[in-house]
């Protein structure tokens, strides 16, 4: 302590600047080289014109963006993607909160094992998990076989290639992110506060509504935003479980760029998807923070 106080001020500042640069520098270089530059290039491509047989013709046109905004097909795909993402996020929150609360509060010696069970699905890619759902949801899959055996239905249900399959699949993929985010925040809430509320006569539901939920709101917001962003950009699950008719944004971007070689339209779609995700994420975050401030 004495040594640090005795050190001259200016060289210390210079050395801390250097340390900061050295710490942030490599990551900045990677982000600029691997993310920002390709984004700039893709944005430039999105202003080009696609001519069949000629690939991409140099131009400065907004016609690709106009197509995305004014073509009802792309508008429907975008609103469907946002709707599915919002629904899956809500489901993750409703299903994930109790699990996260249990994980945060449990004194069990199996706590580590329980956390490992939540993390375990993340060891497997979403495509593999979707393949698992395909086995369950198929015409002769485990789910239909069980329903037929129980006599609940007489003919197999059509689950594959429906929105239900996609919602279940995306919720399954995103749920661990929600649970882990909430669990870490709930663990930071002192149980004494809940005990005090209960001691003062508040029923458990009121304790949750007035104490636990408001205090865990940062986790709810962070987990929800994470799930929403992941769902907006979901690719493998909609392709494998949604089938050819159920279109979401990420597969449409892929189709334009990799199958149709229409980079200008693919680029425009990618930027619209990114902007929409960003706007909705920032908007929802701001709304929740304002509500939270008003409540206080």
């Amino acid at each position: 302590m004495v040594d640090r106080m005795a050190a001259p001020a200016i060289p210390r500042k210079a050395s801390s600047h250097l340390t900061a640069t050295m710490l942030v520098g490599p990551a900045t270089v990677v982000v600029v080289a691997m993310l920002l530059l390709p984004l700039v290039i893709l944005f430039r491509y999105s202003l080009n014109r696609f001519v069949p047989g000629q690939f991409m013709v140099e131009a400065l046109t907004l016609e690709n963006y106009a197509k995305v905004f004014f073509d009802p097909y792309y508008r429907t795909v975008l609103s469907r993607t946002a709707g599915i993402a919002a629904l899956c996020t809500a489901l993750c929150l409703v299903i994930g909160y109790p699990a996260a609360y249990l994980l945060a509060r449990t004194q069990s010696r199996f706590k580590t094992l329980l956390i490992l069970l939540v993390v375990m699905p993340l060891f497997v890619g979403s495509a593999v998990r979707a393949a698992g759902w395909m086995v369950v949801f198929g015409h002769r899959g485990a789910f239909n076989a069980a329903l037929l055996w129980l006599g609940v239905v007489r003919t197999p249900l059509e689950i594959m290639f429906t929105p239900v399959a996609v919602i279940v699949g995306i919720t399954g993929v995103n749920l661990p992110f929600m649970v882990l985010t909430l669990q870490s925040v709930i663990e930071g809430i002192d149980p004494v506060l809940e005990e005090a509320a209960l001691g003062l006569g508040a029923p458990p539901l009121a304790v949750f509504r007035r104490v636990t939920l408001p205090l865990s709101l940062p986790g709810v917001v962070a987990g929800s935003l994470l799930c929403f962003i992941l769902a907006m950009n979901a690719y493998a699950t909609p392709v494998l479980l949604g089938g050819p008719r159920f279109q979401m944004m990420a597969p449409v971007v892929y189709t334009q760029i990799s199958e149709q070689a229409n980079w200008p339209l693919g680029g425009a779609l990618a930027f619209v998807l990114m902007a929409a995700t960003l706007l909705m994420t920032v908007g929802a975050g701001a709304l929740v923070r304002r509500r939270s401030r008003q409540a206080h």
Partner: protein, 355 residues
């Protein structure tokens, strides 16, 4: 520009017998010809779809190049990204691929874009056996198949004779189409509704009729195989090669010939104008046309050889081959029409048919 290679994606393993056969094939490496000598000790970069097709190149063609110490390296990607790469590299004096495997509509587009070398046939001795029906000046055809109707005889008791049979109300809800095969599907519908290979437009209304009848749309060829196996789908259109492979795999289907004719699928190899190792590319093409590897592709993939000097004597070859009568009814797609209209047909398929 969306060209899905319809080759099967089943896995295979290299048995000892196959290995010995391959090694034996290496013994006839003289087939590589003088170009093998010119290209000796060099590296040939071959652009392919990867998967089984690439594995079979490695198994059937590469052994013939090994005596000349020609090393084959793969540039693996789907067809559209490879085509884009060829276009992007066209201005460069040296490209990155010596050979590119493309379905015929892809090679046509690349030729029209000025990126392909017209191969010097005198440098490919085996090219003298090429079948005229599948030959073009801008590419060397590798294998081909024709489009047929697949049906489950348990439910479709009358053998189909025309694409129109897919619209028979008896099979409402039991006919399937494949998302990635949108061009052949629209083409087939056009062929029975006043259109044809150079005009797919009438096919659109015809397909909407099929949609109203509850046809199932499956995403991929593999999904169609599964649906045929579980008998969810009773009838579809498909390349004959796949039909043969699926039958061999125990899927309960028969193959019917449409009276409208067999529209060809042709898989080519092309040399980009700026290929760094053109001599190596010629050596590869010559080895590829040798009867031995051509037989290998018949046995393993069910495709017809592009050369006439292959003996089609095995049971598999007999199932794969087109009869003389069928051979006369082979139709070549209008690639010029496809190049101009693929984008709008895909757009209609997504927005008008699937949505």
């Amino acid at each position: 520009m969306n060209i899905r290679h319809p080759l099967p994606t089943r896995s295979w393993s290299l048995s000892r017998r196959r290995f010995i056969e391959g090694a034996g094939a290496a013994g006839i490496a003289a087939a590589v010809g003088s170009h093998g000598v010119n290209a000796a000790g060099s590296k040939v970069v071959v652009g392919t779809w990867g998967g089984d097709y690439q594995n079979l190149i490695q198994k059937n063609i590469v052994p013939l190049l090994q005596p000349a110490s020609i090393e084959v390296v793969y540039a693996t990607d789907q067809q559209p990204p490879r085509m884009t790469k060829m276009l992007a590299e066209a201005r460069l004096p040296r490209g990155t691929m010596d050979i590119s495997a493309l379905a015929r509509n892809g090679s046509y587009e690349m030729y029209k874009a000025g990126t392909l070398l017209e191969p010097d046939i005198s440098k490919i001795p085996n090219a003298k056996h090429l079948l005229p029906q599948v030959s073009v000046p801008y590419a060397v055809p590798h294998i081909y198949s024709g489009r047929v109707i697949l049906y489950n005889p348990k439910f479709v008791t009358e053998k189909p004779t025309s694409y129109a049979d897919l619209w028979d109300p008896k099979y409402t809800g039991r006919v399937g189409v494949i998302d990635v095969q949108y061009l052949p599907t629209i083409e087939s519908a056009a062929m029975i509704s006043g259109g044809g290979l150079s005009d797919y437009e009438p096919g659109k209304a015809k397909l909407l009729e099929l949609k109203k009848m509850g046809c199932k749309i499956v995403p991929t060829n593999e999904a169609m195989a599964q649906a045929l196996k579980t008998e969810e789908i009773w009838m579809c259109i498909m390349w004959k090669a796949r039909g043969v492979m699926w039958r061999n795999a125990g899927i309960p289907i028969e193959i019917a010939a449409p009276k409208e004719g067999f529209v060809l699928f042709i898989s080519d190899f092309c040399i980009p104008k700026n290929a760094p190792n053109k001599e190596g590319a010629y050596a590869f093409l010559n080895a590829m046309l040798d009867p031995k590897p051509q037989e290998g592709f018949i046995e393993d993939m069910g495709y017809n050889p592009s050369v006439s000097d292959v003996e089609l004597t095995t049971a598999m070859a007999k199932r794969v081959r087109f009869s003389a009568e069928e051979q006369a009814n082979l139709l070549v797609p209008d690639y010029g029409y496809l190049a101009k209209n693929d984008a709008q047909l895909k757009e209609w398929w997504d927005k008008g048919f699937k949505a």
